[in-house]
């Protein structure tokens, strides 16, 4: 099985959804108390987490696990950027280096994914079918 553009788009959307959910959970956690165990931000954050899981499963349907799964590491990048821009958390050079490393890795995965697409059906063992 090859990874389609739809697969790439869905996993990208899934990481954007989960990192936005993450930011809302972080925002909602500041006003969390025993008397108010749930607020709008927390509820929205949890809902976005659920939506992200659905998008991820749909992405897996349109692509290889060994391509889609590592691309999910984009989440690390969005969370770091949100932490810096929205919450004003420090962004040391080491973290930027890590983000560049992750980006490079994702680019390589994309390249590898497009290559397995090209060779699909030639010498690949057939994927296990669902019974």
């Amino acid at each position: 099985m090859a990874t389609s553009t739809r697969g790439y788009a869905l996993v990208l959307l899934s990481t954007l959804t989960t990192s936005t959910g993450n930011a809302l959970l972080k925002h909602g956690s500041s006003s969390l108390s025993v008397a108010h165990p749930l607020n709008a931000a927390l509820a929205a954050g949890i809902a976005l987490y659920g939506l992200s899981a659905v998008l991820f499963v749909l992405a897996l349907r349109h692509g290889d696990l060994s391509t889609i799964y590592p691309i999910y590491a984009l989440d690390f990048i969005w969370v770091s950027l949100i932490a810096m821009r929205v919450f004003g958390e420090p962004m040391p050079p080491l973290k930027w280096a890590g983000i560049l490393c992750i980006l490079g890795g994702i680019a390589a995965i994309g390249k590898g994914g497009s290559m397995s697409q090209a060779s699909a059906g030639i010498a690949q063992p057939s994927p296990v079918e669902d019974s």
Binding site: L65, Y69, F76, A97, G98, C101, G104, I109, V128
Partner: protein
Amino acid sequence: MVAPWVLGGILLDSLLAGFGSLLLKRGSSSFSFSLRGTLGNPRLLGGLVAYGSAAMIYVVLLKFEQLSVLYPLGATTYIWSALLARRYLGEDVNTWKVCGIMAIIAGVALVGLAG
């Protein structure tokens, strides 16, 4: 130094998450937008349970070890899921993918070290 049981725990935990991703992939082909569709899809359900359990175990392990140590070790999930994808799904895990996974793990380690 990481306590041996924490090291073993986080590696097993990553493996569990790797199996979770395999089950989600196997269940994704018959995914449907309904509670009945989800409950009647044992692979999808198994994947969700494996993922959820792995996340809870991770939080427990965080009580005993720093995030900068657990972060990169947890990222070994990328290795497990690729190995499982090759073994059980017959996917092509080529040099580009192997290099990509290594770079991602190194990147996650740097992000973890930076705090």
